[in-house]
């Protein structure tokens, strides 16, 4: 029984990783490629690690396997966010079929400034508080 569960987890993890690689090869621009790799690959690794925990079934190994899962689930979104942000600022082109780019009307790539369109003189002025460090 446990062999069957292990085999299913291993195979589905491998298939998810293969899907992530197909996505990174076939999708048209940087953000869609990241959408393929971060989610599918993290799920694939998590399934493989659950299979490892089932295989050994010792406290130390299970703890380490779940540590890997938690670490990957915590770092994959952070890394994807950082790379996507850097890619947008560097000016990687979006796919020609992109429907909406909400950053484009508000972001000035020359001055690297972001505006909401709601600024006034009053709320742009600095109002120091008493517990400010300087």
């Amino acid at each position: 029984m446990i062999e069957v569960i292990k085999g299913t987890l291993l195979l589905s993890g491998a298939v998810f990783m293969l899907l992530a690689a197909v996505g990174v090869l076939r999708l048209p621009d940087l953000l869609t490629r990241m959408h393929a790799t971060t989610k599918a690959a993290a799920l694939g690794v998590s399934l493989v690690m659950v299979a490892v925990a089932l295989h050994f079934a010792e406290v130390a190994v299970v703890a380490r396997a779940f540590g890997v899962i938690v670490f990957i689930l915590m770092t994959a979104p952070v890394a994807a966010h950082v790379i996507g942000r850097a890619g947008y600022f560097v000016g990687s082109r979006l796919w020609s079929g992109t429907v909406k780019d909400e950053l484009r009307p508000n972001y000035d790539p020359l001055t690297h400034e972001l505006k909401s369109g709601l600024e006034t003189e009053a709320n742009a002025r600095r109002r120091p508080r008493e517990d400010d460090p300087d």
Partner: protein, 89 residues
């Protein structure tokens, strides 16, 4: 079980090849960074499968180090890109 392990290793190897194609082709540096990150995730999976195959649990320590290094490399690359270092895509 042996066949399942061989099949999943083959699938992950194929995935590594596909990611490598993107690493070679990738039109810009961020695309290559994404492919490299996928590499490290695939290697973590492969090491997990191999630790089942060989029955050596110590390989899991290697996966932890691998995931940590991939995260730090992604952060470093992103900082490099945003600071605008010299690039030759």
């Amino acid at each position: 079980m042996d066949a399942v392990i061989k099949l999943s290793l083959a699938l992950m190897g194929l995935a590594l090849c596909l990611a490598f194609v993107r690493l070679i082709k990738g039109p810009s540096l961020p695309d290559r960074v994404v492919a490299l990150e996928l590499f490290s995730t695939l290697i973590v999976g492969i090491i997990g499968v191999i630790s089942i195959h060989t029955d050596v649990a110590s390989f899991l320590d290697v996966t932890i180090v691998m995931a940590l290094m991939a995260f730090l490399a992604a952060i470093g690359f992103a900082r490099f890109l945003e600071r605008g270092g010299p690039r030759d895509d």
